[in-house]
C-alpha cells in the first residue's frame, strides 16, 4: 500500500539522513526535559505530532507540549515575527530555508520524514486512472496544487519526469483542497501526498506513482534560536528523529529519509 510505495520510492535526502545515535540520545536525554514546550508544526503533521507529543509527555513527566499547527509558510512568518516557538517542523525545505535565512534557527535543521506523491481518486476509481498519463485524458477532471505550494511544485516535476503534459482545472492552494475536491466528487483525480490518501480513508483511493516519476517531499525540523526551553526542544527533536518517532510517523503514511 501507500506506505511501502512511499518507503520504496525514497530518494537521497538533501540534508543527509539522521543517525540512529541521535535517536538513542533522544530517549536518554528525554528524562531531563521538563516545562512547557511549544512546537510549531505544519498542518499536515497534526495527527502524527499530537501522538508524538503524547509519547513525549509520557516519557518526560513534568514536560508539557503545546502545538501550533498551521501552514508551514504561516509558521515561518510567525517565528520571524518573534513567536514563542521552541521547535519548528516544516512540510518542505523551502520554508525551512526562509527560517534559516532569517537566522531564527538554533541548530542545523534535520530531516525526519518524507512524503511521496500519489494520485488520489474517488472510491472505486470510476475513471479507471492508472497513472499520470491518464490525467491528460479529455474526460478526466483533475486538480493539483499551485506551483507556489511544495506539493504543486513536486507534481509539476513528476509530470516532467513522466513526460506528460496535462492541465488541471484548478491549481489548489493547499493539498487538502485537492483532497476535498476529489472526495466530494467535484474532481476525478488529484495529486497529493501518500499521507493524505491515508487520511482520506474510504473516501478516496490512492494510485501509486512509479519511483521513476515520483518526487518526494522532505520534512525538516529544527530548534529555534529564541527557544524558551532549549533542553526540552532538543529532546523533542531527538524523539521525532528517533526510531520510535519514525514508527509513529510511518503509521500515518510518512516514509523515512
Amino acid at each position: 500500500d501507500s506506505d511501502d510505495s512511499a518507503a520504496t520510492t525514497t530518494t537521497a535526502a538533501p540534508l543527509g539522513p539522521t543517525t540512529s545515535t541521535t535517536a538513542a540520545s533522544g530517549t536518554t536525554t528525554a528524562s531531563k526535559a521538563t516545562g512547557n514546550l511549544t512546537v510549531f508544526a505544519a498542518a499536515s503533521l497534526t495527527d502524527s505530532f499530537k501522538e508524538l507529543g503524547a509519547q513525549f509527555e509520557a516519557a518526560n513527566p513534568g514536560a508539557e507540549v503545546t502545538f501550533n499547527f498551521a501552514a508551514s509558510s504561516a509558521l515561518v512568518q510567525q517565528i520571524n515575527e518573534g513567536a514563542p516557538a521552541d521547535v519548528y517542523a516544516s512540510a518542505d525545505e523551502a520554508n525551512m530555508t526562509k527560517l534559516t535565512d532569517a537566522g531564527e534557527n538554533g541548530a542545523a535543521p534535520e530531516l525526519f520524514a518524507q512524503n511521496a506523491l500519489e494520485i488520489i481518486v474517488g472510491p472505486g476509481n470510476p475513471k479507471g486512472i492508472t497513472g499520470l498519463a491518464d490525467l491528460a485524458k479529455e474526460d478526466v477532471v483533475f486538480v493539483t496544487c499551485a506551483p507556489q505550494v511544495p506539493v504543486g511544485k513536486y507534481s509539476a516535476q513528476a509530470f516532467e519526469k513522466a513526460g506528460v503534459t496535462a492541465t488541471p482545472v484548478s491549481y489548489e492552494a493547499d493539498v487538502k483542497a485537492v483532497v476535498t475536491k476529489v472526495t466530494s466528487g467535484e474532481a476525478d483525480a488529484g495529486i497529493v501526498y501518500a499521507t493524505d490518501v491515508k487520511a482520506a480513508g474510504d473516501k478516496g483511493e490512492g494510485i501509486e506513482i512509479p519511483t521513476a516519476q515520483n518526487v518526494v517531499a522532505n520534512y525538516p525540523i529544527v530548534v529555534t534560536k529564541a527557544a524558551p526551553n532549549p533542553t526540552a526542544s532538543a529532546a523533542f527533536v531527538d524523539l521525532v528523529t528517533s526510531n520510535d518517532g519514525s514508527k509513529t510517523l510511518e503509521k500515518f503514511g510518512f516514509a523515512q529519509p
Binding site: Y171, A173, G185
Partner: protein
C-alpha cells in the same frame, strides 16, 4: 470630548496596520509584480466578479430585505437567520456547502450538470456564486434595519394613493433608505472582493478563470510574503478608490430638513 477621542482611537487602529504594510512593502520588486500579467488578470477578474456579486446581491437582497421587514409571516426570524448564516461559515466550509448544493454531485448541481451540462465549480460563474453567497447577507441585514427604522407611515400614504405595497416600496421607501442601500452594497462588494475561502474551495484557482486577487495573494504568501504584501496593496488601492467614490452626498438621504 469622549466621542471624538474614541473615534480618533478607532481611526488610528485602522490606519496603523496599513501604514505598517506600506513600511514593509519591498518597493524594489513591487513594480515588476504590478505589471505582471497574472496580477493584472487577477485584478480584472476580482473586479468583474465582485461587481457581479454585488449586482446579484442587490437584485435578490433588496426584495428579501423588504420581505423580512414588511411581510409578516410565521417563522420570519428563522428565515432571517438562515439567510445570514453564510456570514459565519468558516472559509472552506462555505465552499463545501456550495459543493453540496451546486456541485457536480450536489443536490441541485447534479441536475444542472446531467441535464444542461452546467458545471459551476472551476468556472467564473462559480466565483460569482461563491462571492454572492457570502456577500449578500450584509446587504440584506443593513437594508432591513433601515426599512424598519423608516417605519411604514409613508408607505401607508402611498397605498392610500393607490400604490401596491411593492410599488410603494420601490417609489417611496427604497429611495428614502438610499443611504442604507448604498452602504449595504458597499459592504457586500467589499466582502466579495476580499472573499477567499469559499471561492478557492468552490471555484478553485485557475489564473485568468478563477484566480482572484486574494487567491493570488495567498499563493504569493507561500513563496514570498513581501510579494503578498504588494498584491494586497493592489487590492487595497482598488478598493480605496471605490470607497472614496462613495462620497458624502451619495450617502446623504435626499430628505433634507423640513422647514
Amino acid at each position: 470630548m469622549l466621542g471624538l477621542v474614541l473615534a480618533t482611537v478607532a481611526v488610528a487602529f485602522f490606519t496603523l496596520p496599513l501604514v505598517g504594510l506600506l513600511v514593509r512593502t519591498p518597493w524594489s520588486s513591487a513594480w515588476r509584480l504590478l505589471t505582471d500579467e497574472t496580477t493584472l488578470q487577477a485584478v480584472r477578474l476580482s473586479l468583474i466578479c465582485s461587481l457581479w456579486a454585488t449586482g446579484l446581491s442587490v437584485v435578490f437582497g433588496v426584495p428579501l430585505a423588504w420581505v423580512l421587514a414588511r411581510v409578516p409571516f410565521p417563522g420570519r426570524n428563522v428565515v432571517r437567520s438562515l439567510c445570514t448564516l453564510s456570514m459565519v461559515l468558516p472559509p472552506v466550509v462555505g465552499g463545501v456547502a456550495l459543493f453540496a448544493a451546486l456541485g457536480r454531485r450536489g443536490l441541485l448541481g447534479h441536475y444542472l450538470f446531467d441535464w444542461f451540462g452546467i458545471r459551476l465549480p472551476f468556472s467564473m460563474a462559480g466565483v460569482v456564486v461563491a462571492q454572492t453567497f457570502v456577500a449578500m447577507p450584509f446587504l440584506v441585514i443593513t437594508l432591513e434595519a433601515a426599512l424598519r427604522q423608516l417605519g411604514e407611515r409613508h408607505e401607508e400614504a402611498a397605498r392610500t394613493l393607490g400604490a401596491g405595497s411593492w410599488y410603494a416600496f420601490r417609489r417611496v421607501t427604497l429611495p428614502m433608505a438610499r443611504p442604507a442601500l448604498i452602504a449595504g452594497a458597499v459592504l457586500s462588494w467589499a466582502r466579495a472582493l476580499g472573499e477567499f475561502g469559499a471561492t478557492i474551495t468552490f471555484a478553485g484557482n485557475f489564473p485568468g478563470r478563477t484566480q482572484t486577487l486574494p487567491l493570488a495573494t495567498y499563493l504569493a504568501l507561500e513563496r514570498d510574503p513581501s510579494e503578498a504584501i504588494v498584491l494586497s496593496l493592489v487590492l487595497i488601492g482598488v478598493s480605496f478608490v471605490v470607497l472614496l467614490a462613495m462620497r458624502d452626498r451619495w450617502l446623504d438621504a435626499a430628505v433634507g430638513r423640513r422647514v
